[in-house]
Symmetry: D2
Subunit: 405 residues, 4 copies
Amino acid sequence: MTETDADDLAERVREGKLRLYELEDHADAETAAAARRRLLAEETGADLDAVGDYAFDADDAESNVENMVGAAQVPMGVVGPLPVDGSAAEGEHYLPLATTEGALLASVNRGASAIRTAGGATAEVLKSGMTRAPVFKVDDVREAGEVSSWARGNVDRLAEAAEATTSHGELQDVTPYVVGDSVFLRFAYDTKDAMGMNMATIATEAACEVVEAETPADLVALSGNLCNDKKPAAINAIEGRGRTVAADVLIPHEQVEAGLDTTTEAIVEANTRKNLIGSAKAGALGFNAHAANVVAATFLATGQDAAQVVEGANAMTTVDEREEGLYASVTLPSLEVGTVGGGTSLPTQSEGLEILGYGGGGDPPGSNADALAEVIAAGALAGELSLLAALSSRHLSSAHADLGR
Amino acid sequence: MTETDADDLAERVREGKLRLYELEDHADAETAAAARRRLLAEETGADLDAVGDYAFDADDAESNVENMVGAAQVPMGVVGPLPVDGSAAEGEHYLPLATTEGALLASVNRGASAIRTAGGATAEVLKSGMTRAPVFKVDDVREAGEVSSWARGNVDRLAEAAEATTSHGELQDVTPYVVGDSVFLRFAYDTKDAMGMNMATIATEAACEVVEAETPADLVALSGNLCNDKKPAAINAIEGRGRTVAADVLIPHEQVEAGLDTTTEAIVEANTRKNLIGSAKAGALGFNAHAANVVAATFLATGQDAAQVVEGANAMTTVDEREEGLYASVTLPSLEVGTVGGGTSLPTQSEGLEILGYGGGGDPPGSNADALAEVIAAGALAGELSLLAALSSRHLSSAHADLGR
Amino acid sequence: MTETDADDLAERVREGKLRLYELEDHADAETAAAARRRLLAEETGADLDAVGDYAFDADDAESNVENMVGAAQVPMGVVGPLPVDGSAAEGEHYLPLATTEGALLASVNRGASAIRTAGGATAEVLKSGMTRAPVFKVDDVREAGEVSSWARGNVDRLAEAAEATTSHGELQDVTPYVVGDSVFLRFAYDTKDAMGMNMATIATEAACEVVEAETPADLVALSGNLCNDKKPAAINAIEGRGRTVAADVLIPHEQVEAGLDTTTEAIVEANTRKNLIGSAKAGALGFNAHAANVVAATFLATGQDAAQVVEGANAMTTVDEREEGLYASVTLPSLEVGTVGGGTSLPTQSEGLEILGYGGGGDPPGSNADALAEVIAAGALAGELSLLAALSSRHLSSAHADLGR
Amino acid sequence: MTETDADDLAERVREGKLRLYELEDHADAETAAAARRRLLAEETGADLDAVGDYAFDADDAESNVENMVGAAQVPMGVVGPLPVDGSAAEGEHYLPLATTEGALLASVNRGASAIRTAGGATAEVLKSGMTRAPVFKVDDVREAGEVSSWARGNVDRLAEAAEATTSHGELQDVTPYVVGDSVFLRFAYDTKDAMGMNMATIATEAACEVVEAETPADLVALSGNLCNDKKPAAINAIEGRGRTVAADVLIPHEQVEAGLDTTTEAIVEANTRKNLIGSAKAGALGFNAHAANVVAATFLATGQDAAQVVEGANAMTTVDEREEGLYASVTLPSLEVGTVGGGTSLPTQSEGLEILGYGGGGDPPGSNADALAEVIAAGALAGELSLLAALSSRHLSSAHADLGR
């Protein structure tokens, strides 16, 4: 970074010769960011020293952010080891969590310990598919029916167009939904190790051209919210988006008492009245204690899209008193993760994936993202067990008083 | 950080003399984190140089994270200036956004530009209250009715107990809900400039002691999921949690065409078929295009709880073709923000708040958090306008192709 | 009925001199109905002898139907006696059920028998209030905030206007909700023994005039769907509409086995996996087995509005294995019933209410509708118990095979 | 009916020699019903003359009701003619509606008139399938995945077992859903002209035996609430149950003004703020004005299951201002109707179907039920148009004041 250049750039913005987003056209990314910090300091009085003290090459973030000024730094810790027997994940894992919520890691760690003592969690990716659902306009419900039928009968042609745009993605299916003169086509793709939303968007745009050419339907919006991205929606909770993944564990009753300081019976009661009945009464789409905490913290630590925590929160926690012990499970129907693309190649996030051992493309393709999903599910399970245990022994509040703010 | 000490600590963990979470008992936070990085490198092969290159004092993060190894760094940029005429926010703002999703800032910036040209956004905090809802067990529905009546009639006594635990929080109300032999009491607090969840939890625990002493109800869990924290739930979308805040703008038709490259009519159509009809068909609790993107990015940039993006996504976007122009609004019923506590005092996050000018406690108390909420709402509005414009001119996919991955 | 007149009327319709809905202006209701049957027979070939063979005076149905041709006859039976210890209901009841679904009464009767053996059900009206929520349009979110504040501060004035239209109804509260430039005011009324929707509508219309006179808000629709009438909606499931009523029972374990041919444990498992987990996964607002069956059948038998079965289905069934036995409850948050007005004074429906002993206005006012709600809740409980028992012993299908179609 | 026998039967019940539900074992259905009326009159004081004055042969109702005492009589009228151009329905229809809600028929008739003037409604069955979803228990999420895969791969074997139980039904598909150790298999059937729930139940029970024999899954309940029958649930609103049917119409602007006394613009505004925004804010699964009214009234008039009005209320109404006029549509995703079985063969209900011309089995099979669904959709459209028109001209309240109670 040349100091002079940042000063110079800032001056040209002040003079109205450049706009704030044009700086990268006239300097390298470091310099542009420095110039912006300078201008912001002047205009707002904010000292941006910490924001400017980032540990990556600004050029490498150009595909992740515009108008860059630096970085937000979120404390990262680890919990574990967490043994996971998954369809793709295997063995012990340290799970990186980035968060500002005190007591969270301590809580998840306690759950991980209980799982470890019980011999580990089982995890399974049950379904996988990234969706994009454009909305079209037609003349009337008759035509809506015809377009739907056409789409059902021409998945091959749509696949051909869609897959021409991508070297990795495969169209799995197209499901039509009709509301009056609006037709929604929900495209689902296998996007391998990528979270895949942009891949799905680009592929679907190509498929939409076929729909428009072959049917009377007119595209209104490339996303018609039946996808559904970053909004709480039953369609994701029911049909899934990204990975549908579940993890579970069976903990002997005496270990529940020794390791979690409560009883199987008390955990069952807390789960039933809080996670099932309470959530039901709240009109919820997520029946869990705090799965979003683990989803958010692992997403930040591994370069996932933080806004997709929304769908990650569509989780259901179940517990069952079995003869052999406490059975507990967490099912996340719409966990959208990738190990390539997005924020995964930024240095700290890439290192987060390295801690897990699932960075980059997997072999076979998709297996790294599957494994990541399974470990997150097991981490969410640890978090659920720990919070249910704390609640059932009335520890929540004091835990926060001790560890948090 | 003393290298020797980190080595030594690591050695003691290897030898089984210390556990990973006990390191801070034997060394300062920097050293403990370094020791953990060393151990992880050995066990997982992960090089944690970037994670370890953080720009804050590890001791200062002790209330935010346990088992710390370093930090995740998320690229931060700014959009704006965004003029906001709020009940607390006032004037032009640069909005800091931390994200790894390429094209997001460019998109929001385009919307901010449209709002600026139109004279700015109006914003308003419509309701405010942080909730916590314990669940109690009673004998039967008769007793459930009695406990509910008792709670309705004894808010003053509950307030006395609750408020004894906090210097800032004020109990606003207690609403009982009954399902069979489960009684939920939803406590709502004015927590001023703090997001307030922990304050609400601690205060509610004290109030629960009164409930248990004065009624036959037995506490099952201090949170009974009618709060509802970090899960998508209609109760938050309907009744609000944290700040219920809205922002809107009126953009002359010709500016819609000049600045957003589309027409008022096309935006209305996209909003109706996507955000209203599509969301309805999806069984959604969020009727918007991508409000969660702005919520997540501002939350990361200003030290909010990333998992509460879930509730932030409960937003509704409306547009209306008026004679004078395009009216657009975003209403976020459950935006949970604070300018003190949580992650807000970490250096980069504190600087994020400084960019906005709303760091720390406001005058009067609560006004800084109100202002923050209003600016986020205006930012979400900018994001909605831009994406609706892009969709209605079929730009979404190509925008991603150009700018993102 | 004069045959000649019906012929004559029919002839005048054929000649285009009268329209089908004008017949009552030219003849008594019996004759008009007969004329319509004649015309329909000619036009459609349908023989309407049974439809025309109704057991009430057509004139008495003029406030219930227009263009009358006769009546639909729905088989009615009774179950019981069902002992109910309610806040208003007391003692043993025969519950009239009108249905066409074979096996339903046998099933409910089996549940009633189990409740009777266990000493009866407890029932309680937990909340009561009929709502109507008009939607207004304002200029912007600032004005939305002002109108909301005004409404919160002027409930007395709104009550004065509203209550001037009714001799019975009392305005309980007005709750504002805002989405952008739409303001919804949810008015809640105590309507005593009337279901009260029309009373609420008329009273609210008067109150709306005050709102429009005193604030800048413009009424868009007298019902803005936050009421919410006859649509499945979380606001009713959470906040209630009409009566929020619950019933429960404690059945000794050995009676579960003897009377219900299953075990407490099996019922708990069926309820958890079906009514709680299954409903949650389905994105449901009703967590029960078939409460709507009992609601629909009692509504038909007692003159309630059949379309309000929709809200009645928002029920939650819970069961709990207690030391003393199986605890089971049903909570119906939005059961809209009346014992005066609507269809309650038609002969067969009035007799249905007589079977229960709660026809007409109660003493004190409201107590008859409360009692009716409590008995329906107890009946729903009987239905839930019986179906859960059947499912848990795999009897559902064969029960239908034996008794139904 | 023999008077003596009824007296005699009643006496034997009084003496404890017979139970109320055993009377049909000792007398014909008429006599048994008479005996019950006598007993009820004694015990409750209720005079059941009207209930006992029914227009069908009690023996013919034995598959529809147990413990029969008579019938509830619901006033029936007709609206129309309503021209419907459907995939199965064709031509003008008089629509029979049985209701106790004054003003309803007048309202629907006004809408039907508007549709007629505009040349009629278009209607289309978009999807068809009756579902039943048993819930099974497995050991862990691994096994859940295996059972799901097995089910996906063995639809043929399941079809063979299921279809062996029925001469009409055809298994269309089986969709697995997993939550922890619960596996739900949603079976969908083509049940032709029958509503088909019992057929689906019986067939699914047979298929469950195959599942249990071939996989480690244990059946917990033959219905696991992902069906979802008679509860408001997103899965029905999204994926459909019974018929997914839509109807629409295009009304020239001047006819909106002449026939509906309002403007296209005012209807669009009312629909957007009430049916879309208001419903969204209410957390609704039904985005309409009062579709349930028409569904309930036609269900009663044609022998459908009144409790299934719940799913019928999952309807969405859309309107659009087009150049040529007002476009309006109603889409009912889960309308469960039949023209054979259930209550359809009872005399008054059979006559109700005759008025429409769709009684009994269709040619081809399923076409009568399709046609019935289409006509109900068109009727619902008429109701929506009329109420939206009334609301947008503020007529709702006064319409009720004039015509109703």
